[in-house]
Amino acid sequence: MILALGACSSKESSEPEQPAPTATVDPTTAGAITGTVTLDGTPPTPRPIIMTAGPECAKLHSTPLTYPEVVTGDHGALANVLVYVKSGLGSYRYDLPTTPASLDQVGCMYQPHVLGLMARQKLDIKNTDPIVHNVHPVPHENRAWNQSQPVGGAAIETEFDHADFAIPVLCNLHPWMRAYVFVFSHPYFDVTTTAGTFDLKNLPPGTYTIEAWQEKYGTQDQTVTIGPKESKAVAFRFSAGG
């Protein structure tokens, strides 16, 4: 009975197995979608982080830190926006990046604040702080876990098996610490810097829905068609008014 229940609850056993795609993107016809993300209006005043729950963290900063919900550069350029291909991709096999993605804890903040990586790509989570941290991802489609990371401890080497959207990564000792990790089944994603730019390279010709995700302002979609070796630029504009 227990075995039967276990079999019924198994995702793998209830879904027909799809053959793994074998085709790869042809680099001679691949194009790119680049662009910018900006914020219209005056950015909200950053909220100061109160570090009373972590007095050792407070000692690391001479002035209070602020929540990095909305980070802008020159001319309204919006940083920490995850831009990715939401739909339109054919069935391709993508090689995993050979270098691991990296998430660090610096000054009791996760760096970077927003991170994209591929499913089964290695992720190194480091602690360069002189303080114990506690890494706790809260995924939607992957297994949740929680692990202490002592001072000077080795990096936590992990990976996510399945695509997942905006996984909050918390620290159970320092409640203000939060990063967002996005896991994709393809390599077409980028996170904007303070220049507000993104670059989705090596895209096969086609029509795509491109989505931009911002922590405070949500998501925006645009449909873009690119031909062989074509590069197109798109602009996302979020409004500070909501």
Binding site: E56, V132, Q147, S148, P150, N172
Partner: protein, 165 residues
């Protein structure tokens, strides 16, 4: 021994319910509320009896009568505090077990404090018969007050020892 403790802590903080508490915006504060409600009951009733043994407070009841009246609330408070405390511990167990202030609190001060409390509670049945308690009863009441103050100090010091470990 430490390896065993670490393995238990790691297992505990990765149980489904512990991950749900620490991953939820609301669950953690409510668990804190449970812990501090229990502590208020436990320490509050301890302090009331200890102060009475010291001769402070209403004289309408003897220390023995007060001790008896608060007995159920007292142990209910500890049960609630331990339940909430265990749930809080479970959210970051491997981090807590390397924290010197936490080790001092839970490894030494709390167990000895409970033993001290049981002794005081039992002896108050005889010490507290008269309106004026004996000198040794006053000493023990004062000692227990200081002891729980030390426990609270160790608890409050936990975040200050995060650089160790």
């Amino acid at each position: 021994m430490y390896q065993l403790l670490y393995a238990f802590a790691h297992w505990l903080e990765n149980t489904g319910w512990a991950l749900n508490i620490s991953g939820s915006t609301w669950a953690y504060p409510y668990v804190q509320l449970i812990h501090f409600t229990g502590l208020s009951l436990w320490v509050g009733t301890n302090v009331a009896v200890d102060l009475h043994l010291l001769g402070i407070g209403s004289k309408r009841l003897t220390s023995a009568e007060l001790n008896n009246a608060l007995f159920a609330w007292n142990w209910t408070g500890l049960a609630i505090a331990v339940t909430g405390g265990f749930m809080l511990f479970a959210t970051a167990a491997t981090s807590f077990i390397i924290n010197p202030a936490f080790r001092l609190k839970l490894g030494l001060l709390v167990p000895l404090g409970i033993i001290l409390h049981i002794v005081v509670q039992q002896k108050t049945k005889t010490w507290g018969q008269a309106k004026d308690t004996p000198g040794f009863a006053k000493f023990m009441g004062g000692l227990e007050l200081l002891w729980w103050f030390a426990v609270a100090t160790a608890a409050a010091s936990i975040p200050y020892f995060e650089h160790v470990g």
